[in-house]
Amino acid sequence: MELHSSFACQLDPLKILLNVEICEAGKHICLNTIKCEDDVPSSQEGAGEAGAEDRVDVRYLQWLNGRLRLQWCALHAQHQEQCKLLHKIHLFTSGSHMDQNLGHFSVTEADLTRQPENYKQLFQLLESETLQLEAFLEWKQLEPVYWQWMETVLDNMAEEGNMCESQDAHLEKRRLPEASSCCPWAERLAGQMDRASRELLALQEQLQQLVAQRKAAWWEKVAAAEELQKERFSATAGKIQESVELKLRALPCLRAPKNKMHGSCRLVLRSRHPGRQRGTAGRVPKQAVPAVGAAEVMRELQGREASLQAELQQLREQCRRRLQAIAEGWEGVICISP
């Protein structure tokens, strides 16, 4: 139980909840599927193995590269089709939505009008999602109480572990006086439980010791490595960390769920002349919903594209210079760059 709750602390459950594909909500609350990545990757051995057998004809690599490019073109066409159809749906259902701010149906809503039976599925998903969120809220309120209780339990167990065994027997009898009178097997059960809890404590201590040893060894290793390349290591690690974070921040919505009936944001079609929208005249405007305009998004994406292009050019220049340097080292080889 303690392990589970400490896990729950380290990983933000709300994030996990919302990241999870809605359809799989039921089995994902079980945190058994989350792996602890403490293992040091031992990939250094395999690197130097490329021998003569692994030489590949460059034409085959060009073939593969071409296939990749063509698949990307197909993906592009598919994406454009999706945008076109999305636009059609928004256009054709404009004016039909109850919420005048939105004005048109989303894809899910349009699909529901054609296949009304699916509303049951959507309702179930929404219900389970609501239950999860409610449970999380409740947990958040009770969380401090839980930790207090946990601390007292741990303290108690530490104390009990220090007392001698004879007193355990006393405690057993004292703790469950009624049990022996009511049912004879209850006493045996209570004894087994106590034994089990003692064994668990002992195992936990051993585990803690092992963990402490491993951690100490690891930190020794890290300290030694850092000694060797103190500045360079931390600097490059820091740089890598930064750039990875930047890139990850720039790719927020890659986790497109497969059968999603509704997503994390809603696409709304706005006409360029809002004055012409019918039906808004007599209505009280609802509270402002946070929204992002298409022009803004486009500008941001263009900026990002420009910076990535510049980065690509830079990397290409580096590769070219490296290739030239390598080629100059070989006799009789002329390197013609494209």
Partner: protein, 450 residues
């Protein structure tokens, strides 16, 4: 998903008309030999690919017609409309009054830039009508002025305007003893320019189709219409819907993309040849039966021996012995090495067909294994009244000899500077010619060293 066809020049427009005719008559036919559901799915897929709906209900071809003379386009438009089963849109054509005089430079440097906006406007409109643009299919001949010169220019513009779209150029190789003196110049210029902008060049040689008409179709007085109809039949057998190997249960929604990916990912190797079996006069069809093993055996030998039709195949040609590592110069003479092959099967009992003979590694070049190099598409729906038919689209040494011959002839003319002034006066200089020769020599060398 939809393909936009661009018909360029006299040849392009005439062939284009025959292609749409063949496609339309195939889907309207009752010879499908498959379940009703399959037939309907096939019809819907074909209609989405090549036609769009009109208020009158008559399918409108997704095509743009371009020519520098008005005669052929107006004939094409009226023939289509007269059929009553399909038509061209009345707005999708562009023509002028002057013609190009069989001068590539005139088509490329003069007509091209002058009319670029109008032509690209038409193409853009057609492209916007598609829910999903599956790519462009351009039809042209290499020998003349409009199809070749203007065609090369338009292909370049298409590539600039649609950088991620698939582009398949259908190129008609002129008769060896053709009437246009400078056809070899025009051909060399066209091929080298197309190689840079297009994804794949699908070639039909007039001489070959002429032989098919004479020997297989038993036509006495062969007209261009007959030749074009055979070409249209062969193209239809490639473009009609099929189920691709990896795809789901429906017809492929990305035919051009699938074709490109299986055959021409490598930028040096873009020339595709097409073979079709069986070919016979329509009157003989009811009296003929076919078996898949027989058809495939012939098709395979046609591939290996570089035969152009199912008659007169040289059965002596065999693939080289698999055990020996033979450099290309020692390979069995006349053996046609392939880079990649695509076999398309249509008709009865198509699912149990054994295609193992096409996956023999000795057929292919050493750097590509048969799993990557060979693909098969199938459909149980029969095509154009043939109970069973097979088409082979091959990226192989099929066109090595014809290409070498054309480049050789053009070079001889160029060395003696014959007729060059006709090109230089429109801005195509000798350096441009030299660049084109270099490109094609590179292609010839790549294909020779398979």
């Amino acid at each position: 998903m939809s393909i936009v066809t661009v018909q360029l020049g006299q040849c392009g427009n005439q062939i284009g008309h025959e292609v749409f005719s063949a496609l339309c008559s195939d889907i309207r036919g009752t010879h499908g030999l498959c379940s009703k559901k399959e037939n309907e799915s096939y019809q819907d897929s074909c209609k989405e690919r090549f036609f769009c709906e009109d208020e009158s209900g008559v399918p409108v071809a997704r095509a743009v017609l371009v020519d520098m003379e008005p005669k052929v386009i107006s004939q094409t438009l009226s023939m289509a409309a007269r059929s009553g089963h399909w038509k061209y849109s009345s707005h999708s054509h562009f023509c002028q009054k002057q013609g190009s005089g069989n001068n590539w430079a005139n088509g490329y440097s003069v007509h091209g830039p002058r009319h670029k906006e109008a032509i690209m406007d038409l193409v853009q409109k057609e492209a916007e009508k598609c829910d999903r643009l599956g790519g462009f299919f351009t039809i042209m001949s290499m020998a003349g002025g409009t199809g070749s010169g203007l065609g090369a220019f338009v292909t370049q513009c298409l590539r600039d305007a649609f950088p991620t779209s698939f582009m398949l150029n259908h190129v008609v190789w002129p008769y060896g003893t053709g009437e246009v003196i400078v056809q070899n110049y025009n051909s060399v210029l066209t091929l080298s320019h197309l190689y840079h902008s297009s994804d794949a060049l699908l070639v039909h040689e007039n001489d070959v189709i002429h032989k098919i008409c004479a020997q297989l179709m038993n036509i006495k007085q062969i007209s261009f219409r007959d030749v074009n109809q055979v070409i249209a039949h062969q193209l239809g057998s490639v473009f009609q819907p099929t189920h691709t190997a990896g795809g789901g249960s429906g017809y492929s929604r990305n035919p051009l993309g699938d074709l490109m990916e299986t055959l021409v990912p490598h930028p040096e190797f873009r020339m595709l040849g097409l073979r079709n079996i069986p070919q016979m006069p329509e009157s003989s069809l009811p009296y003929s039966t076919f078996s898949w093993p027989g058809l495939l055996k012939h098709l395979r030998q046609m591939l290996i021996a570089n035969a152009q039709m199912e008659e007169g195949i040289d059965w002596q040609v065999r693939p080289p012995h698999p055990g020996s590592s033979i450099p290309s110069t020692n390979k069995a003479l006349h053996f046609n090495t392939s880079i990649a092959n695509l076999v398309i099967l249509r008709g009865k009992d198509v699912h149990g067909v054994d295609l193992g003979s096409f996956q023999d590694p000795s057929l292919y070049t050493s750097w590509l294994n048969p799993q990557d190099a060979f693909n098969a598409w199938k459909t149980p729906r029969a095509f154009n009244k043939y109970e069973k038919s097979a088409a082979l689209v091959s990226n192989s040494q099929f066109l090595l000899k014809p290409l070498d011959s054309i480049v050789g002839k053009a070079w001889n003319m160029f060395a003696s500077k014959a007729y060059l002034h006709q090109y230089t006066k429109f801005g195509i200089q000798e350096e441009d010619f030299l660049d084109c020769f270099t490109t094609l020599e590179q292609v010839i060398s790549s294909y020779t060293n398979l």
